[in-house]
């Protein structure tokens, strides 16, 4: 079956497909250790309160209880990627309803939960702020009195109350740009909090060995972020923290940073026994993360002939009680303020604000879906005002190859125009739609999206095993998206081996090289790059050994399928030696074990001469842009305003599709999650309390809400900077989906709906508006 390039480009089944389909796959919540205890958490009933003390006596008196943990068990040691503002468990204050304030370890989960309910925490309630507008009032209560003292990796505002990040950027001359505009549109777009809704709620199992080293198995997107967070909040050296990820049931950004690992470790340390903490769905929804809600005011100017000349943006993100990734998400949203368009004059300001609610954090798209909703809806409003075809307006303004991104990075490759031309054809854009069903209005909408693939750093180690197979050690966690299979396919291709001869390591901080995390659509691109480099080093050694063993020159040998080094010319043509024989030589006779390692860092220079930026995180470790377009058709119910997506066409430039089946799966899954964001998913708080913390009240779309076929077209323009030509695909399919749906709804009803999600009520409200 193998083409000469190996298994790349084949839709191989997932390496772990059989174990997942049969239920044999081992997730953290399935793991049991001898003497293992179960942990349960106690959650704050207050949105904001000082903790006065604890009464643990009733809980400790319950037979089977082995340990309790509260803020008294930790020091003020803060963790966090962007702002170090979180403790292992609440101490001193609670800042949102649901915040873990104590925990219990007991012989079974029922006992632990019952004991947890008996813990009494004495609070002094404080005034709370649960909306951006309240949080920024001069007299607003302050969530983090010590904000100025927290460690941060960006230029944070000082003395701005609950505003934790404020970023400004200017490119060109917006004043002049708007002056040159014939048409200007301005509107405010409301965006809602979306729940990650990963299938597996967060879970961690911690066990200390006799040397005092703790091993933590957890449902995480990054074993190294887990290790770093534990190190920071517990003060343990990394030599004493080993983090492992067994199978992980989804993450979507929500498991990038600490979840319940610190609590599991604290309980295990105190109980002197392994402790597993698995949150219920309600606990997960009330203690973890959401996509950032907030609002975006956007203004865009264009000339009469449809050239975008200026844009202005003011963005406010509600970050919740802890910063988590908020400044980065807010900056990333601004990074996409122009969308994939060549707008020469731009001014934008963004704010992230603390409020007494669940923290908002990384979520598939990382701020880009919010900005793209505003931007892509506004492009349609502009097209309407200009009397221009929305697809044509987009095409005319597509950022060309070689142009600079907002921030000044060079865009080395783009397939946006190709994507638009493809989708025009495929979606029948110029042709009339089928007639609407009785009682329905039909509409069609388009959105473009841009996203990045490269982010931060990673490494890979490749070892030739004694039998000639390959051991691949990477720090990437496959959270269900299929990176294990893709990485194995890439490694297999580098050695012309079938994937069965690649042994992919379990993510384990004791055993694999660093990787920042499974996020930012980066694993296939970044880790794939590291795999390519490490494979090159091993390949060189294979060829050297092979040449020596075959007594020919290095230039006369090449790898051949099936794990062989073969002589390619001369009198010894076709003589060969197997990888196994080479491995034998290396470990028993000459040279030492064959190992190749790599470390790669994403680096793309910004240009302050192009875009002046202040209050930003550095984005020089972000790059490699990817583009796409989506067209959807909807039917809107004239009576109820309910929206049904009847057709979806997704065209994405993916570089080279390492595994086309998995790539299409990512696109379809991303579109569906975007459909939920667009139509029905919204976490609602009432006075700081999450009103819909279950799947009964918070609705994600099911197969019945999705068009029968989500048509996917892959544009495969190999990425020149990647050894296998790949680009990231995890996030782009979600980024523009809500906007495409909103634009289709606007087309159907003749009016824009500028608030996510487009519930029947909001759509009907727009329809009835005079």
């Amino acid at each position: 079956m193998n083409t000469p390039a190996g298994p790349i480009g084949q839709s191989l089944p997932r390496l772990e497909a059989a174990e997942k389909a049969s239920g044999a796959a081992l997730y953290t919540g399935d793991m049991v250790l001898p003497g293992m205890l179960h942990g349960a958490i106690v959650q704050s009933p207050h949105a904001h309160a000082r903790i006065l003390g604890y009464d643990l006596s009733a809980a400790l008196a319950v037979p089977g209880v082995r340990a309790t943990v509260t803020g008294d068990d930790v020091d003020y040691r803060y963790m966090g990627l962007v702002v170090k503002d979180e403790l292992a468990i609440a101490k001193g204050k609670v800042r949102y309803i649901g915040e873990p304030v104590a925990a219990v370890a007991a012989v079974d989960i029922e006992t632990a939960r019952r004991a947890a309910a008996l813990i009494e925490v004495r609070y002094q309630p404080l005034p709370a702020v649960t909306a951006i507008e309240e949080a920024i009032k001069p007299e607003a209560p302050i969530l983090h009195e010590d904000f100025a003292k927290y460690a941060k990796i960006y230029d944070a505002p000082t003395n701005r109350g609950n505003i934790l990040a404020h970023s400004v950027a200017t490119q060109g001359d917006p004043g002049k740009g708007f002056a040159a505009a014939d048409v200007v549109v301005e509107a405010t777009y409301q965006i809602a909090a979306q729940y990650h809704a990963y299938m597996e709620p967060v879970a961690a199992l911690a066990a200390f060995d006799p040397s005092g080293k703790v091993t933590v198995w957890s449902s995480t997107q990054s074993i190294f972020r887990t290790q770093a967070n534990l190190h920071e909040c517990l003060g343990m050296p990394m030599t004493k923290i080993r983090c492992i990820a067994p199978r992980v049931g989804g993450g979507f950004g929500g498991k990038s940073e600490a979840t319940v690992q610190p609590i599991a470790v604290l309980l295990a340390r105190k109980a002197k026994a392994p402790v597993r903490v698995v949150l219920s769905r309600v606990e997960d929804m009330t203690t973890m993360r959401s996509r950032h809600p907030g609002w975006i005011r956007l203004k865009t100017g264009a000339t009469r002939d449809g050239k975008l000349v200026a844009r202005e943006c003011e963005l406010w993100f509600d970050g919740g009680a802890y910063a988590d990734d908020s400044p980065a998400v807010m900056n990333f949203a601004l990074f996409f303020v122009r969308g994939p368009y060549d707008i020469p004059n731009v001014h934008c300001e963004g704010y992230a604000v603390y409020t007494n609610k669940l923290r908002a954090g990384a979520f598939r798209g990382f701020g880009n879906p919010q900005m793209s909703f505003a931007s892509e809806c506004q492009i349609d409003e502009l097209a309407k005002k200009l009397g221009m075809d929305p697809l044509e307006l987009r095409r005319r303004n597509a950022l060309p190859k070689g142009a600079k991104w907002f921030g000044g990075q060079e865009v080395k490759e783009t397939a946006l125009v190709e994507a638009l031309d493809t989708i025009r054809e495929r979606a029948g854009w110029a042709k009339p739609m089928p007639p609407a069903s009785p009682g329905k209005k039909r509409g069609r909408g388009i959105a473009c999206m841009a996203h990045s693939s490269a982010f931060l750093s990673t490494g890979a180690i490749i070892r030739l095993q004694n039998d000639g197979t390959i051991a691949l050690q990477v720090g990437a966690v496959d959270i269900g998206q299929g990176s294990d299979t893709a990485l194995a396919q890439m490694a297999a291709s580098a050695f012309l081996l079938p994937v069965e001869q690649i042994n992919l390591s379990t993510p384990d901080t004791d055993a694999v090289p660093y990787n920042s995390g499974t996020n930012a659509s980066r694993v296939t691109y970044m880790v794939g790059k590291a795999v390519g480099e490490a494979a090159g080093k091993v390949r060189d050694q294979l060829l050297e050994h092979g040449a020596a063993m075959l007594a020919v020159k290095r230039e006369e040998v090449a790898l051949a399928e099936g794990g062989r080094v073969v002589v390619t010319g001369g009198s010894r043509r076709n003589a060969e030696v197997s990888f196994a024989d080479i491995a034998g030589r290396s470990i028993w006779a000459v040279g030492g074990p064959i190992t190749g390692s790599s470390g790669v860092m994403a680096q793309y220079l910004m240009d302050q001469g192009h875009t002046k930026m202040s209050g930003w995180l550095s984005f020089e470790a972000v790059g490699i842009f990817t583009f796409g377009a989506q067209v959807v058709e909807v039917e809107v119910d004239e009576v109820t305003g309910a929206v049904e997506v009847t057709r979806a066409v997704c065209v994405h430039d993916v570089g080279r599709a390492i595994n086309p089946g998995a790539t299409i799966g990512q696109i379809q899954g991303g579109f569906v999650q975007g459909l939920g964001y667009g139509l029905c998913e919204e976490m609602v708080w009432e006075e700081g309390r999450l009103a819909n913390p279950s799947f009964m009240d918070y609705k994600i779309p099911s197969a019945l809400e999705v068009p029968a076929e989500i048509e996917c077209v892959l544009i495969e323009k190999p990425e020149p900077s990647h050894p296998f030509g790949a680009r990231g695909v995890g996030e782009p399919p979600l980024v523009g989906a809500a906007a495409a749906i909103a634009n289709a709804v606007a087309d159907a009803i003749g009016k824009p709906v500028r608030q996510l999600p487009l519930t029947p009520e909001r759509v009907l409200g727009a329809m009835l508006k005079p």
Binding site: D108, E638, C680, K699, L704, T759
Partner: protein, 286 residues
């Protein structure tokens, strides 16, 4: 480690005895609400009395006079597929088919759903529109109540301590009837944001009787005798339907919740009612 006792009696009187003896005991029918509430730790009953082995609660029987008895333990999927539900009774099959998802319909029972009395659930509105009788048995014997008297409020029924819903009786409807269960939900499988149950009696193409009931628009199914009167016997112009819808909207007493605001529900009721009646007529007599 729980201290909840589990009983699975074979006889109805045993079950009633267990439930009467302990007001912290809960009956288990299909478990689609009870088990979810247990999992969410909203309930911690001292005992669970399973009704699964009680033969007297099972089956669907045609009775003398043409009425249909439906055992409390009959599942939603059995009703959705039942050939016994004909004429006006088709409404119940239509409502059953819209409950939750297939897995829920395969386990959930009509007795459990009726006794739980969630006003956004699909059976209450349908049963009131069908003038169904709810059969009850308890420590003081048997009784039955018309559906509209059985549902008393949000999750509140006429059941007394120790009493169980044993079945539902559908009285013979109009000889020729058209039905429609119209439901708006945020996603398929959700409870209704609003629903309309319609039974029209037909004679030679004329609407001779009408029963219209709203679900999800108040703490109990909402009716309007006036609305039903203007539909029965009148030519169904848009104006008549609009008037009927407005009467029902006025009778409704919805709340604001995560599914929609009260104002939104009121706003869509007339349109949903008109659509439900038109759909019923378009389908014709069954």
């Amino acid at each position: 480690m729980t201290d909840t006792r589990f009983h699975a009696p074979e006889r109805l009187d045993e079950a009633i005895g267990l439930l009467t003896a302990d007001d912290e005991a809960r009956p288990l029918a299909g478990g689609q609400t009870l088990v979810a509430m247990l999992n969410a730790e909203l309930l911690r009953p001292r005992a669970i009395v399973s009704l699964h082995r009680i033969a007297a609660l099972k089956g669907v029987e045609r009775r003398a006079g043409g009425s249909l008895w439906i055992g409390a333990m009959t599942t939603h999927s059995a009703l959705a597929a039942s050939a016994e539900l004909r004429g006006a009774h088709r409404l119940l099959a239509e409502a059953a088919a819209r409950i939750g998802h297939e897995a829920i319909r395969n386990r959930g029972t009509i007795g459990g759903a009726v006794a739980h009395a969630d006003p956004s659930a699909d059976y209450p509105a349908a049963l009131v529109a069908l003038d169904a009788e709810i059969e009850i048995e308890g420590p003081r014997g048997k009784r039955s109540l018309p559906a509209h008297q059985f549902f008393r409020g949000f999750l509140t029924t006429a059941l007394e301590p120790g009493e169980l819903v044993t079945g539902v009786v559908l009285l013979p409807g109009p000889a020729k009837a058209a039905t429609r269960f119209e439901k708006l939900a945020r996603v398929e499988g959700d409870f209704a944001t609003a629903s309309v149950a319609v039974v029209l009696g037909l004679d030679a193409g004329r609407v001779t009787s009408a029963r219209l009931t709203l679900g999800g628009c108040g703490s109990v199914p909402i009716q309007s005798i006036e609305a039903e009167q203007i539909i029965a016997g009148h030519t169904l112009s848009d104006a008549v339907l609009k008037k009927a819808g407005e009467l029902l909207a006025a009778a409704a007493d919805p709340i604001d919740d995560v599914r929609g605001t009260a104002a939104y529900r009121r706003a869509i009721i007339p349109g949903l009612v008109a659509r439900a009646v038109r759909s019923a007529l378009a389908k014709g007599a069954a």
